[in-house]
């Protein structure tokens, strides 16, 4: 994070990728984009091309991280909360992000729209090469925040959240396109159920705070229409030792210095259209 004089009142502006791009966020309010968004962005491989949809983009951190690392990609941020849509638009328009602005745009829409309403909102069927999503993953039973904007970003509003978001991901992806998500391990059953009969080649990477710890997140990728088997990869460890420093791998992923490609990269690239 780098302090900047360029943040409007009520907003903070945070540097990512060592100043490769900047994200405007409501100050002291709402979900704060961070490592989750950077890990999610890393699942889009170095050779990716075409157009990516960032579903539930918030202020746009994950989508911008892809745009920053992959100069050939076009990014569509999809967000339904007006306040966060405004943030995303201010983020794109900010002079510090001038190098990315031409390839990133925002759609104000609910990810759970269906059929014609979804297409009319700008999310056409089979229009995207990649979809990334960081769905609101705090379940209602531990929703303790009094902060309404944060609650909207974190709360799992329906038991069918992953079903609905993955239905949209499937609809808007080209055949052979890749979906990526980051979530809590407790959502694993819902995620696998939502992927079923739509996606294959599921690859799960646990993310552990330290060696020996239980995973606090899972990174999941899958390929539309694939029939390949599920794989469970070795974990990413965030911290080495007992301090707050990132492990070398986590540091590279957090800063856009490397990708976290699928084991079976070819299947994600081979278009069956």
């Amino acid at each position: 994070m780098t302090a900047s004089p360029a943040a409007p009142p009520g907003y903070s502006i945070d540097a990512f990728h060592h100043g490769g791009f900047y994200v405007l966020q409501p100050e002291a309010e709402g979900h704060r984009a961070g490592l989750d968004a950077m890990l999610l962005a890393a699942t889009v491989p170095a050779e990716a091309t075409g157009t990516l949809a960032d579903l539930g983009a918030g202020a746009g951190a994950a989508g911008l991280a892809v745009a920053s690392r992959l100069e050939g990609m076009r990014i569509v941020l999809v967000e339904r909360t007006p306040r966060m849509v405004e943030c995303a638009r201010m983020t794109i328009a900010h002079p510090l992000n001038a190098r990315l602005a031409g390839r990133v745009r925002v759609i104000e829409a609910d990810v759970t729209l269906r059929g014609g309403a979804r297409s009319a909102a700008g999310l056409g069927d089979r229009a995207f090469d990649h979809v990334i999503m960081n769905p609101p993953f705090n379940s209602a039973r531990d929703r303790t925040t009094p902060d309404e904007l944060k609650a909207q970003a974190h709360a799992m509003e329906t038991p069918d959240l992953f079903e609905e978001w993955l239905r949209t991901a499937n609809a808007i992806l080209k055949p052979g396109g890749q979906v990526s998500l980051i979530a809590r391990p407790e959502s694993l059953a819902d995620i696998l159920a939502g992927l079923e009969r739509r996606f294959g080649g599921i690859e799960i990477t646990p993310v552990c705070p330290r060696a020996g710890d239980d995973a606090i997140r899972i990174l999941v990728t899958a390929v539309k229409g694939s029939r390949a088997r599920l794989g469970l990869r070795d974990r990413i460890v965030i911290h080495e030792g007992t301090g707050r420093d990132f492990s070398p791998l986590a540091n590279e992923l957090a800063n856009g210095r490397r990708d976290w490609p699928r084991r079976t990269r070819q299947s994600a690239q081979k278009r069956v259209e």
Copy 2:
């Protein structure tokens, strides 16, 4: 493994737990009990008591490993293949297993029996404190073995295998009882679907050949009637470095020197009856 003069013609007798118990198996035929069975047995914690059912027990290696480590437990081996039932009976009756024989018995039954037929076979409702299972996990698409007995042990005969086996596990467990299984990662969706609405507190431990490898097995435990969330634990690494030697942890687990208890041991022990 220790060679022994006591094997009948056509059988081998293999030592486990450094000679703590022995398993008779058809020589050069059928599935060979090994590390999978020992890891599965390790999920029954040191403080466990009561009666355990080993579903699809084969020659009985996993069940006997529990009996050998936990002197207070009674074990019921459940197997449907007559040849393997015979093996299990010969194993129990073998003089080298005399110290265990009084606590281990065999039921010849299909795990997928239901209702009255299941009870009549000796698998009564709510009769068991623990259930362990190592279901036949090779899918039909890679069944290449010409060995019919091995095929029966390995083949996933129906797409509902985990559903059927976990239905039986749920029926025969006491409330609060623990189920444990070992399987391939590709079966994860089927396993979670089969556990749903029956078990909670699911804990998944990936098992990787070496650090950095994808998991080749998952150890899964869950508690009947629990509402606790799923947890994804750090992996067990089988081999250290590049050689064939087991890691210290894998060696201890393989030889009954330690257990692999749940993180939330109490919930498995707290009976809600």
